[in-house]
Amino acid sequence: MIRRAGAVGIVLACAALALAGCGERPQVVTYKQGSYQGKPDQPPYTGAPFDGNQKEWDNALRQRNQAQNEYKRIGS
């Protein structure tokens, strides 16, 4: 009985494997003229170190932007 169940299991596994081989994936991208066709991008504030906190990211960049202004850095 156990041997039979094992055999059935193996047959089912083989069938699943064979079917997976038949799975058709789209090989060609269908283009829509004039609109971006690639993968979506993530906003820069997702993930470490900001973890989705856009305000904190804005502040970090604002600070960096101002660091380029030497008139402010040296205090004119």
Binding site: G38, K39, P44, D58, L61, N69
Partner: protein
């Protein structure tokens, strides 16, 4: 956050190529690909100027318009990026770009003309932020680290500015007021002119006195 822009102050650029080196080092750019380069106008003539040139992330980017596979997109911050998995390396963007930004590696699956590579404003590309895949294809994502492009941050004379366009305009205005000359910004009319408006003529560099 306003849109990201580059600004090169020709009065300050000393042609040190620090920006080029910073870019190469930051993104591990292969030999033969130059995302950024320094161009000298009127070389050897009194009044010569040097300008650091890369992708300007144009408002109405011609590369986006001509790409036959539409692999370009503009991020929320106004950075023009592209998906290298879609790019077929046709080179149309190279012909369309007024700044000569698109670069084509000479090795890889597509033979002599590989997938296009260009300045990403240190914003990576359409892969997970900070992933190995993103670094391999597009370079480091400094923007996601809360930093500005390496070329601009590394510039010793602060000739090259990169970041929020409004802030850059303010910084430049203060400079021009303080020094009283050099108010023309190279490439801004071409890159960020209003859509539908004819690009303005670039200011002619001063000619040598005979």
């Amino acid at each position: 956050m306003a849109r990201m822009k580059f600004l090169c102050d020709a009065e300050r650029c000393i042609e040190c190529n620090g920006c080029v080196t910073a870019c190469k080092q930051e993104h591990d750019i292969p030999w033969g690909v130059n995302r950024r380069r320094v161009v000298t106008i009127n070389d050897g003539v009194p009044g010569e100027r040097s300008i650091s040139v890369a992708c300007m992330h144009c408002s109405d980017a011609p590369c986006m318009a001509v790409c036959p596979v539409d692999c370009f997109y503009r991020s929320e911050e106004g950075v023009v990026l592209h998906d290298k998995d879609l790019c077929i390396g046709c080179g149309y963007c190279f012909y369309a770009c007024p700044f000569g930004a698109p670069q084509f590696p000479q090795a890889g699956a597509f033979g002599v003309r590989g997938k296009m590579d260009k300045c990403t404003f240190c914003a990576g590309g359409p892969e997970a932020n900070h992933s190995e895949e993103e670094y391999r294809k597009y370079g480091r994502n400094r923007l996601a680290e809360g930093k500005l492009p390496a070329c601009a941050e590394m510039c010793s004379t602060k000739a090259l500015l990169g970041g929020d366009g409004d802030v850059l305009a303010d910084i430049y205005r203060t400079r021009v007021t303080a020094r009283g000359k050099g108010g023309d910004v190279w490439g801004w009319a071409t890159a960020y002119g209003q859509p539908g408006q004819a690009p303005q003529q670039q200011p002619q560099p001063a000619k040598a006195k005979s």
